[in-house]
Symmetry: C2
Subunit: 427 residues, 2 copies
Amino acid sequence: MTKSQTTNATRITDIRITPVAFHDPPLLNSVGVHQPFAIRSIIEVGTSDGVTGLGESYGDAGHLARLRLVGDALVGLDVFATNEMLKRTVEVLHGAVGADRHGLTGQISERGTVLRTFATYEVAALDIQGKLLGRPVSDLLGGAVRTSVPYSAYLFYKWAAHPGERPDRYGEALDADAIVLQARTMISEYGFRAIKLKGGVLIAEEEIAAIEALRDAFPDVPLRLDPNTAWSVATSIKVGRELDGVLEYLEDPTPGLDGMAEVARDVSMPLATNMCVVGFEDIAPAIEKKSVQVILSDHHYWGGLTKVKGLSEICDTFDLGLSMHSNSHLGISLAAMTHVAAAVPNLTYALDTHWPWKFEDVIVDGALDFVDGAIAVPSAPGLGVELDHDALAHLHAQYVACGITERSDTSYMQSFHPDYRAELPRW
Amino acid sequence: MTKSQTTNATRITDIRITPVAFHDPPLLNSVGVHQPFAIRSIIEVGTSDGVTGLGESYGDAGHLARLRLVGDALVGLDVFATNEMLKRTVEVLHGAVGADRHGLTGQISERGTVLRTFATYEVAALDIQGKLLGRPVSDLLGGAVRTSVPYSAYLFYKWAAHPGERPDRYGEALDADAIVLQARTMISEYGFRAIKLKGGVLIAEEEIAAIEALRDAFPDVPLRLDPNTAWSVATSIKVGRELDGVLEYLEDPTPGLDGMAEVARDVSMPLATNMCVVGFEDIAPAIEKKSVQVILSDHHYWGGLTKVKGLSEICDTFDLGLSMHSNSHLGISLAAMTHVAAAVPNLTYALDTHWPWKFEDVIVDGALDFVDGAIAVPSAPGLGVELDHDALAHLHAQYVACGITERSDTSYMQSFHPDYRAELPRW
């Protein structure tokens, strides 16, 4: 008899996985442009005590199939048995390597596939635990060490609209002036106190100019630039030197641990990554090569909130900075990110979020509001967010109608520019 | 307002610290011999909800003073706010470096002093959390992945009795035959399926002979030898080669990361340590130098059960083995060790414990019983052990009467052998 079979257990009785789609603007990056809809999976985990836990993850078809497979194997388990959940996930997915490339998160391994599947359920389990205990999830992670969690303004080069549609409220942004305007709009609305520019879209000189314009416009705001490995080592070093003293960190300028290490030796600012260190197995070589100075964690693929706590212990031990990566996401993910960031003492950078780029959600309004660019850590039990079932149904209908079952920024770009190639590094 | 000040908090209202002493046999090691009493501190943490949490730690005067200082600073905190507890501990102990050398646990740093003080309260906080939730502590750590936790038979060279007293039930053990007899006695009583011999007492040839005798007597039982850095690098390599294929691991043969690395290069078995890697700050250099292959964790000085979970993530990430060190301890510590070991998937070695060497305790009998050398993970809420207040009073009276306020194996040895010197390495 394992612990999960004691009589006072709260058992998982059923799992509902609902793919959803929400409108996404034509945001540009180094491999193409965001499709008209971003897809996500919304997970509801029912229990023998009638408490339901929520999770949110990627919406790609392969990932959905793995979530279903694993979900079936978790029925009957105690909601506190997260170690056992991970073990079952490993067993069920044995040999599976998800080809999901959502969010440019680097190499895909069996371990990574396991952790991104497990993570979804770990969050839902913590949501249930918190609800059973009448405690916010942050309390299950050692308690919040900050009352609110700061996020950064995540700027993108973008088209005014998806071809054939009306311009969105942010409009076109294809040069430095437009990027500064985008920053002003976003900051006036959300109060962000850090700025990240997604680069790798224009030639490096243009992106340097945009960062310099941002520095002039917001002299006291920390700035970051993320070209998603669009640059060679030489270009990366050139950019890093030109932006000496301007960037808080430079994110994934070039592919691979060796290339990053070369760049790190020759630039002054820390290098951050969510592409060359995306799993625990990448850490030892990254440390040995001195490839990166900041790891951009993401509970969706690092294996859940507790694993991010483990990662934070590693970062603390090896003098690595810790910040947080974002994909296009909804409110359940934002709540989870906020709880873990609140409870990790050394997660000291403002987190990334795509939040301002969407206007729809599956959660009831009001749980997560930005004040001065930060979200107050929810104090309600669990994640502190509630599912809006009508909204969920609507976004599911949208998923069915839009027909997108895999994210592909590249093929969407190619539908307008057939010669486009996602070759990295590009410059 | 921090999370710990929400209205649904269960607050720490009072902390009681009771030093206790229990009879300890004259066990020999590389720096002397155990005194007639081992001293410990028993911590009771009271809360606004009337639930009490238990902790157990070292009993040395300096440590007791630090526990009191920190305990005062924790009153008013929510029992889930362990991150905040650590922060306060850091603040209160700023600049303090405990000179406690209890258990040969290596260098003493400010960080180590903080973590060994905090750990005591973290365990008590988890005990309270579990009681509030009606869950065993292992559930708060991701759930037990094993139903029982195996311990090893911890053999010692020893005198028959403290001078002037009657022989204890184990009698004298100063050669291989006596060690084998001691192992038979202990295994017949507890069912242990792994054996550790505390070495560093006799010349290496004698200890090699003892291990070989144990191998002959128990051909299927994993064996370990721990001379507590009594040997030079050359002696360590000589012993390692002679015991090639016989030892599961060789523990702390020689002092320091560099010496251990030299030995590791020349022997076949893994090297384990609780002396050269005793805190997170030791890990990076140990990995770089390849000094050790197994870390012997100990929640008492690694900073509590959650920190041991973090350490386990590090060990998993860097392909290090993980086992557990023991000092002379009572039942609260044994319960805590059992819970964390149950919930750490990669803590796969049988744990060390001094348990068979004592006949007294502060907990109510029956919660922790050995079957086949293992303890069933308690399923009662919290740690699953209950304080016996009469026994506590008795062991406290014993503490007062015995007059021991610092552990000093060396000066106790010198009281019989004035020329004795604790110089390591000795051979």
